[in-house]
């Protein structure tokens, strides 16, 4: 059977892509990631969400630590700060404290977030800093060429676990829930549509939102967190899950064999910005001359 071929012209194709908005919010820099890396889907998801939400470019800042994932800010057309390994959250907290109007995204890897940066997460969540933290969890240290990470699966062989990783991985979702996070969701780089929606929802939340994205490192993990394996493991949220029920969310988070995708939990409480305003109000009330 022969299909008649319609010639495609490059500039036509280019125009099509441009008009689709898929390249809006993409910077001129080409990602330095390995072909097939799950992170490409995330950059696509973020630009798509920004486009859909029509976020003013100059009013958004992406802050990252160090890692393959943390190269992210170079690839989007927003303000960006590629900081130090593990320090995206406190830098983002400073930015948001300085300017409430900015949309602030913090992005980084599992090592960046849960190893060296592990001390900061609880406090960002506690304060309910109004930022969106997107964690790229590939269960390995990509940039430094494949060492064990806090979320590496038991049995993974890496250059620092040549006799196979014996440690149980941390459970980031459960941890965040215990920190009092005000929005928590999970997505998978292999489900781009869902991913985009989750990113948009996370950004839309007022307060500290945490989005955990499962993503394969095609170069340094060929056995554990592959597209094939993840594809088989992930599942939808159980029907009727109540995202305001903390215990239900915790129960859900405990099932790491079959990671659920979707919104686990959310609540509304004052943000750090609200808190600052409240303190200023109290201070001014105190120092104001009593008139009555």
């Amino acid at each position: 059977m022969s299909i008649p071929i319609k010639p495609v012209f490059v500039d036509e194709k280019l125009r099509e892509v441009q008009e689709s908005g898929r390249l809006a919010y993409r910077s001129h820099a080409l990602p330095t990631w390995c072909p097939g890396c799950g992170y490409f889907a995330i950059v696509e998801g973020v630009t798509h969400a920004c486009n859909a939400m029509n976020i003013p470019r100059d009013q958004a800042v992406v802050v990252s630590g160090i890692g393959c994932s943390s190269r992210f800010p170079f690839f989007v057309d927003l303000y960006g700060f590629h900081t130090l390994h593990g320090r995206a959250l406190p830098v983002a907290t400073g930015i948001k404290t300085a300017n409430d109007h900015l949309t602030v995204l913090a992005v980084g890897g599992d090592g960046d977030g849960f190893a060296i940066g592990g001390g900061h997460i609880a406090h960002a969540a506690k304060r309910n800093v109004d930022i969106t933290y997107i964690l790229f969890d590939n269960g390995i240290y990509g940039l430094t060429k494949g060492q064990t990470s806090p979320t590496s699966a038991v049995g993974l062989r890496t250059s620092t676990s040549p006799f196979d990783n014996p440690e149980r991985p941390l459970n980031p979702l459960l941890m965040l829930l215990s920190y009092g996070v005000s929005w928590l969701g999970q997505a998978y780089a292999g489900r781009p549509d869902h991913l985009r929606a989750m990113i948009a929802a996370a950004i839309a939340h007022r307060g500290f939102s945490y989005l955990h994205i499962l993503s394969p490192c095609v170069t340094f993990d060929k056995t554990s967190r592959t597209y094939v394996n993840l594809g088989l493991q992930v599942r939808d949220l159980p029907p009727g899950h109540d995202p305001t029920d903390l215990m239900a969310a915790m129960q859900l988070a405990r099932d790491t064999d079959h990671p659920a995708l979707g919104l686990f939990y959310h609540q509304t409480r004052p943000t750090l910005g609200d808190t600052f305003d409240e303190i200023v109000a109290r201070a001014k009330a105190k120092s104001a001359p009593v008139t009555d």
Partner: protein
């Protein structure tokens, strides 16, 4: 002598109210128009058995340091004060409890330790407190009354300060405290006076309101406020905490923000984040915190993000001596961050300098787009001085953070443009015309990662060269010469809190006919090589007194100028005695 110059020391155990008494005394005397310099020593434990000493020197004109010998020592606890009996000068007064309750060993009572020539004053302080207030807890106020009575000070300023200090605790406490003071005052007024120590006539000698008493840390906080600090991020640590504590009260009143972070790394990270976003931001810490901040400070250097870090040094290394002073974090301030990461380091030398350096630090951080470390130490942070401040507030010129002009069509914004003076136009988020991404990686003019040989060389040069301008920063003397002009036998290079002692030593040496001068070096990095070299040209011998073991500043001077200096490095945990410096000056002048 018609000029007043009297030093009083109050010594007791933690819990005796020693520091509180010293606080009231210095405020009362300052309110009466005298110049005061005061410094407290207390133990690292909250309670327990530690020694507390509050010293203050009261003068007609501003003095520069405490004296080695006090004119008056008041003991609230002989077991602590005994070792200090010798600190009282000849014909000075030793005031102590005449009827200690706790039995003590032969010779462990102050009366047994009075040296010939010292004047002993035993007062029944506990009993007076008991009688006047029904308890022994106002003993420290009785003591204050005794001092006022003995020295012939007017009681009113004391009463005002006492009422203000205890006001929050309710009228009962105020009344009790006043009664204690009164009891001491009356009892002392009945005994013979201290005829050797003469106070000049009491009365305000400055238009009131312009002279106030501040600690170094309070002056820093005031400098921050007058520089219109937007945000402060900090983590408590002795002796820097009180900067944050003061700002925690003051910033919100002005609609500004302070956040106590989870640690020092977060504090400096947030400070840099806020600076990046266009706010005026600062943090404060001591040596251990500076260590934790060193990686982040490197990030501020390479991203050229303004930030100010106040570092109040204490005894090191490591946790060291948290409540003792030392100048041993200079190396860490200069060199603590890996890589070629020069930054601005300035060190005030007195309380007024704390205020000025705080404000100027923001000017420099923003103008040169760099981290600025303001190096204090416990002695400077906690010392009280009467200072003269402009009624009208600050005179800081903070105009570097201004919006950039719109780009011409076709122009690209280069965040790290290689300009003549090394400073590039800086935009902040919110500016649609000048969007950019910054990174701790080496980068090109656009800010994109670039580790090529030529770019790294150019950016390294830029980052270093731009700081040179700080050496002639407007309205900021990076060095200043004191003492004799022209050629001198001995020249002192002095930095930080030790400058006061150096200056006193120079004056004393001059009185001994030794041609002597001191160069106060306020800017430590970039190093004012020319000014220091010029000063050294005038000196037969150069002496560098500093309170650290390694002679860190001396090493810096030699490192830059390759010219030898004489080190006077001591680690007493307290200010360097003026006499020690004087001895060294005399030794050098002789040899």
């Amino acid at each position: 002598m018609s000029k007043t110059d009297i030093q009083i020391a109050i010594c007791g155990s933690a819990g005796d109210g020693t520091i509180a008494a010293g606080d009231i005394l210095r405020n009362a005397v300052a309110a009466a128009g005298y110049r005061v310099i005061g410094f407290d020593v207390y133990p690292p434990e909250i309670r327990g058995f530690g020694k507390c000493i509050s010293r203050l020197r009261i003068t007609t004109d501003q003095s520069y340091s405490l004296k080695r010998h006090s004119d008056v020592l008041l003991s609230l606890d002989d077991s602590q004060a005994l070792p200090h009996a010798g600190e009282v000068r000849d014909m000075g007064a030793l005031i102590f409890e005449s009827q200690p309750i706790a039995p003590c060993l032969e010779g462990e009572h102050m009366s047994a330790r009075v040296l010939p020539g010292q004047i002993p004053y035993g007062f029944p302080m506990r009993e007076l407190s008991q009688q006047a207030t029904g308890g022994g807890r106002s003993r420290n106020l009785v003591a204050l009354g005794i001092i006022a009575g003995l020295l012939g000070l007017l009681p009113d300023p004391f009463r005002k300060i006492i009422a203000r200090k205890f006001g929050k605790q309710g009228p009962e406490i105020v009344a009790r405290s006043l009664a204690g003071f009164q009891a001491g005052f009356e009892d002392a007024s009945r005994t013979f006076k201290l005829d050797d120590v003469v106070f000049a006539p009491i009365g305000p000698r400055e238009p009131s309101g312009r002279v106030i008493m501040l600690s170094g840390n309070a002056a820093v906080a005031r400098g921050c406020l007058d520089a219109e600090l937007d945000t402060f991020f900090g983590y408590p640590i002795t002796p820097a905490t009180s900067i944050m504590e003061r700002l925690a009260t003051e910033l919100p009143k002005r609609g500004r923000r302070l956040l106590q972070t989870e640690d020092e790394i977060a504090a400096i990270a947030a400070t840099i984040g806020a600076g990046y976003a266009g706010a005026r931001a600062a943090t404060a810490t001591s040596g251990p915190g500076l260590a934790l901040m060193s990686e982040m400070l490197g990030l501020a250097t390479i991203t050229e993000t303004p930030c100010v870090v106040f570092v109040s040094q204490r005894g090191g290394p490591s946790t060291g001596m948290p409540t003792k002073t030392e100048q041993s974090d200079l190396n860490a301030a200069l060199y603590g961050s890996p890589g070629d990461g020069q930054r601005i380091v300035i060190a005030p030398t007195n309380v007024e300098g704390c205020y000025r350096c705080a404000g100027k630090a923001f000017e420099m951080a923003e103008r040169y787009q760099t981290p600025v470390i303001v190096l204090l130490d416990l002695y400077l942070s906690n010392r009280y001085e009467t200072v003269t401040l402009e009624e009208s507030g600050h005179a800081f010129v903070l105009d570097a953070n201004k919006p950039l002009p719109r780009l011409e069509p076709g122009e690209t914004y280069r965040r790290y443009a290689l300009t003549e003076d090394g400073v590039s136009p800086r935009a902040v988020p919110g500016d649609a015309d000048h969007m950019h991404v910054i990174t701790g990686l080496e980068h090109n003019e656009l800010g994109r990662p670039d580790d090529s040989e030529s770019m790294h060389a150019a950016m390294s040069r830029k980052r270093h060269d731009k700081l040179q301008a700080a050496l002639c920063h407007p309205d900021f003397a990076v060095t200043r010469r004191f003492g004799a002009s022209g050629r001198v036998k001995v020249g002192l290079l002095a930095w930080g809190s030790t400058f006061g002692e150096c200056l006193e030593a120079v004056f004393m040496a001059q009185a001994l006919d030794i041609p002597c001068a001191a160069l106060k070096v306020v800017m430590l990095s970039p190093f004012p090589a020319q000014a220091v070299a010029a000063f050294m040209d005038d000196c037969d011998q150069v002496l560098v007194p500093e309170v650290n073991y390694e002679g860190q500043f001396a090493q810096l001077v030699q490192g830059v100028l390759a010219r030898p200096v004489t080190r006077l490095s001591r680690v007493p945990g307290s200010p360097m005695p003026v006499e020690q410096i004087l001895d060294e000056i005399r030794r050098l002048a002789r040899g």
